[in-house]
């Protein structure tokens, strides 16, 4: 906005608003006196006295007037400044676009990178950590984790069974508690594609489903989009079978047809009725099972499940006004009381209660905080780098500023111009950065391969944009600080006197630039060190002995119909496996009900005749498998034999155990041939084999046992095949073979075993990828910083170098001295960064695996990388310095 015409005019006249007030009042008095004289015919003196009397307290009116004048003045000055700033912005835009395109492009791009990284990471942090869960009043939702009192005595590796509940316990707590408005449960022992849907158009297919009780959706505050919730009667023996569809399934299978309510659906050969459709906003997987998506929700038959053991995960909604601590105190007295009352026969259900949000996102919080810190460092690096650039530019423009100041521009207007420039850069950088962040988060939200909670909900929202705004403004202010300091610390007039020859910065700004580079290197060092530790941990995790060989193996979920009879099961699987192993290219095949790194359950396992210390819990993870499973998985048999088809439902009961189970129950002995007690029955141990990483790659395996499929009921069937062929080409043949034996076999994908392992490490991979990318970015920025400062100092010292060369300094000597100055800066930065890393490393401790936060190898590697970067960044200016022609340099 240009300065209004009248203001210029007013300035020209030097108008004083206070004087205006006085003039105005004086005019009033004069006019009054005139009128009084005319009316009353009295003398002017008398008239004046009368006028003043009528006027009242002239002084206080004048003061009021002056106050108004001051305020008005301020108002106008602000408006002027804004107008001038707008003009400065225009000027800055013109300068940057027309004259300094390169500088502008580099600044905007680096800023955009920094802002994009920050915006994107903030949107992730906001979604996972800051924003509440996507349920109404979600702060009242509570997660129950059972078996608290025995968890210390029990192997930490007993998996889900150790923290879930029996139906009897759940019902007892549900009936008697007074803290919860609703207490609800679901069955967490689900896998991917547990259900076979048939009766729809097209072939049978597998979908993922979860069993919930009738209170589950109401407790979360989720209402069906269409139809109704499942009823309590449907969760009991003999209840009608109804099913709720996820929004995605409804769209995919039924094209969003609202008339599907009441239609039939065949799930695992049983008839169900579609009772309702859930809203698109309800994403069970995102909250309760990151990385999986669920298609159907089935009423869990609690009467049936009450015979199975620990089957339920519990979620509660607190009554209004009840705190989680109060609920915990109630649970601490209530649950032991219920147990004493004999509400359930065995099992420890003392519970720790946590907020559902804490349960869902607690594990990723630390990683995200680290990520947030890393991008913060990046932005700092970007700002330091650009400040450095601005400082160099300010030095080059000193002549321009000196001239403008000589022509009457005050320091204020020069500052304003610098601020306008950095504001222009920051705005462009923020806009570009926000756009990049938007693209990145959109991409991220569609990724299924990272098992992170709430990942699909990530988006750029208002909070995120506000954060971007804060960062942009901060960047603008930070960027203008350095050049303002540069101007303010220097006598502009003397610059003008020295003429255009002097483009040198003062020693103060030289020192400042050195300091900038040192802090850049220090920041990059902290980033690199953190990334290095995380990367090392990631490699250590990948290097872990899984106990099985994921390469060249693939998995398919298969369907079987044994009519619930164990004697039929053996022959069915024997037939399937003999046909499958006969296929060309298949080396081995076997079936297990659950695979490592997926779902799990545990049973008690003890050596017969051995007395255990009181409180001992001999839980072992149990897998129901067929002969050939170990070979297909590549699990090493240490001792003994694999199961055979001769181990049938009528022959002697046998199990295979892992090393950890052998150590726990038969320490120092060979367990093969021993009798163990499983579920109150005697079983013979026929082999021991390698420990398999069952729960996660990082957790050392606890006791594990394998039971033949003919002697225990499997909870599903996953067929593992070992083959050198590409799973994609093999899948159709495999499916055809399975369908010949069982027409109901649904269309299922053949996943590689490696895929399952990758999924298990995906959160770690996610963070390592991001942190490493940020560290690389930091390294580039630091390198640019070093390069900028060294080449600037070389160009400034051209004369001095020329003299030294004329006096006999060798080219290599000059090169060396330039490189040495680069190395000095880096060394100082590494020392500072090393100290910072030492103190910040502790923060990373819980994220590391197989390495320590003070790992010297990583630190030395990082220091060497930085030194190499310094040499690289210093090389070009050093070469330029050594080629300086002494004659030309001296003549200048």
């Amino acid at each position: 906005m240009p300065v209004p015409m009248w203001r210029r005019y007013a300035r020209f006249l030097g108008v004083d608003l206070k004087a205006d007030v006085d003039d105005e009042l004086a005019f009033h008095l004069e006019q009054k006196i005139d009128d009084l004289v005319a009316q009353r015919g009295c003398s002017r003196k008398e008239a004046r006295r009368e006028a003043l009397r009528q006027f009242g307290d002239l002084r206080s009116i004048r003061q009021t007037g002056h106050r108004h004048a001051r305020r008005k003045e301020r108002q106008m000055r602000l408006r002027d400044h804004l107008g001038l700033f707008a003009r400065d912005l225009q000027f800055a835009l013109r300068t940057l676009i027309r004259k300094e395109r390169g500088f502008a492009a580099i600044s905007v791009l680096t800023l955009a990178l920094g802002i994009a990284a920050n915006t994107a990471v903030f949107s992730v942090v906001n979604t996972i950590v800051l924003r509440p869960l996507p349920f109404p009043d979600s702060d009242r939702l509570v997660w129950f984790s059972g078996g608290r009192d025995t968890i210390e005595n029990r192997p930490k590796t007993s998996g889900l069974s150790a923290v879930t509940y029996q139906v009897a316990a759940f019902r007892a707590i549900q009936e008697t508690n007074r803290s919860f408005a609703q207490l609800a449960s679901y069955n967490p022992y689900f896998g991917s594609g547990d259900y076979t849907v048939s009766g729809l158009s097209g072939e049978a297919q597998s979908v993922s489903g979860v069993m919930i009780d009738s209170d589950f959706l109401p407790a979360l505050g989720v209402h069906p989009l269409l139809g109704r919730n499942i009823t309590a009667a449907e969760c009991r023996a003999g209840g009608a079978r109804s099913v709720l569809l996820s929004h995605a399934m409804w769209q995919r299978q039924f094209g969003g047809d609202p008339r599907i309510l009441g239609r039939g659906l065949t799930l695992n050969k049983q008839a169900y009725t579609i009772a309702g459709v859930l809203p698109a906003s309800f994403d069970f997987g995102a909250v309760f099972s990151p990385g999986l998506s669920f298609d159907i929700f089935v009423p869990g038959d609690l009467d049936e499940m009450s015979r199975w053991g620990n089957t339920l995960a519990i979620v509660g909604r607190l009554k209004p006004g009840v705190t989680i601590e109060q609920a915990q105190r109630e649970a601490d007295t209530l649950i032991p009381q219920l147990q004493r009352d004999g509400r359930w026969k065995w099992g420890d259900y003392t519970s720790s209660l946590t907020g559902l949000k804490e349960h869902v996102t607690g594990k990723t919080r630390r990683s995200l905080t680290v990520l947030w810190g890393a991008v913060g460092l990046i932005l700092l690096l970007v700002c330091v780098n650009l400040s450095n650039l601005m400082l160099a530019r300010a030095a080059a423009r000193r002549a321009e500023f000196a001239l403008r100041s000589a022509l009457g521009a005050g320091l204020g207007s020069l500052f304003r111009q610098l601020l306008a420039e950095s504001a222009t850069l920051a705005t462009a950088g923020s806009l570009l950065g926000a756009a990049v962040a938007w693209a990145f988060t959109t991409y991220l939200a569609q990724q299924g391969s990272f098992a992170l909670p709430l990942l699909h909900h990530i988006r750029i929202d208002v909070d995120t944009l506000l954060w971007t705004l804060v960062l942009g403004v901060t960047a603008a202010v930070l960027l203008s600080l350095a050049p303002i300091h540069g101007i303010a610390s220097h006598d502009l007039q003397s610059t003008l006197r020295e003429g255009s020859q002097s483009t040198s910065a003062g020693p103060a700004s030289e020192r400042l630039r050195g300091l900038f580079v040192i802090s850049e290197v220090a920041l990059a060092c902290v980033l690199l060190f953190g990334a290095g530790l995380l990367l090392r941990s990631f490699l250590n995790v990948l290097d872990v002995d899984l106990g099985f060989r994921p390469a060249q193996a693939a998995v398919m979920r298969i369907d079987f119909d044994d009519q619930g009879k164990a004697e039929l099961r053996g022959p069915i699987f024997e037939r399937i496996l003999s046909r499958v192993t006969a296929l060309p290219g298949i080396e081995a095949a076997g079936v297990a009900d659950m695979l490592p790194l997926g779902r799990n359950r545990s049973w008690g396992l003890e050596a017969k005749g051995r007395t255990y210390s009181p409180g001992h819990r001999g839980d072992a993870i149990i897998r129901v498998v067929t002969p050939g499973y170990f070979a297909a998985m590549g699990i090493r048999l240490q001792n003994g034999r694999d199961f055979t088809w001769a181990d049938s439902s009528t022959s002697e009961r046998v199990i295979v155990i892992n090393q950890a189970a052998a150590r726990a129950n038969w320490p120092g002995e060979d367990p093969v041939g021993r009798i163990a007690m499983v579920g109150g029955r005697e079983v013979r141990v026929i082999a021991s084999l390698a420990d398999v990483r069952d729960l996660s790659l990082e957790t050392h395996p606890g006791p594990e046992m394998y039971v033949p499929i003919t002697q225990a009921g499997p909870a599903g069937a996953e067929m593992v095949i070992r083959t050198r062929l590409d799973p994609g080409t093999l899948a159709p043949t495999l499916l055809r073979t399975l369908r010949e034996l069982n027409p109901a076999q649904p269309a299922a994908t053949l996943r590689t075993l490696q895929n399952i392992v990758d999924r298990a490490v995906s959160p770690r991979r996610f963070f390592v990828l991001l942190v490493s990318a940020f560290a690389a970015l930091g390294l580039v920025l630091a390198a640019l910083g070093i390069f900028g400062v060294i080449s600037y100092s070389v160009s400034r010292r051209t004369q001095e170098i020329g003299i030294r060369m004329a006096l006999g300094a060798s080219a290599s000597g000059v090169q060396f001295s330039v490189l040495a100055s680069a190395l000095r800066l880096v060394a100082a930065g590494v020392v500072a960064g090393g100290l910072a890393s030492y103190f910040s490393g502790r923060f990373l401790e819980s994220l590391l695996f197989g390495t320590r936060p003070t790992d010297p190898v990583t630190f030395i590697a990082i220091a060497l990388i930085l030194a190499a970067i310094a040499v690289l960044a210093g090389y070009l200016p050093a070469r330029r310095a050594s080629r300086i022609d002494p004659i030309l340099a001296l003549r200048r």
Binding site: L25, F27, H28, Q54, G65
Partner: protein, 115 residues
Amino acid sequence: METQLELIRGTLDVLILKSLAWGPLHGYGISNLIRQQTDEALLVEEGTLYPALWRLERKNLLEAEWGLSENNRKAKYYTLTPEGRRHLRAESKLWEAYAAAVGKMLSATHRPEES
């Protein structure tokens, strides 16, 4: 009993705006105009007039300019801004409605019938 009425709070602004509806005036002119128009019933004191003028000016309802008075003195003339004109229209309507309502009540002769 005095024939001059006390100004009711908040009415001064409207009176000033109205007095400028016919064209620019200086402060003294405004006070004269109000006095004459109200048949000397309303007297605006300088101690309230000027602060009100300045306030209205800062609120952008009035604009001021220096000019020459009838007897060739430098005087500060006030003019209505478009915003001031709008404000005047709105306020006048409000006042008429208010006055009519109060009038109706005060001139009532009997209790309303219970219905």
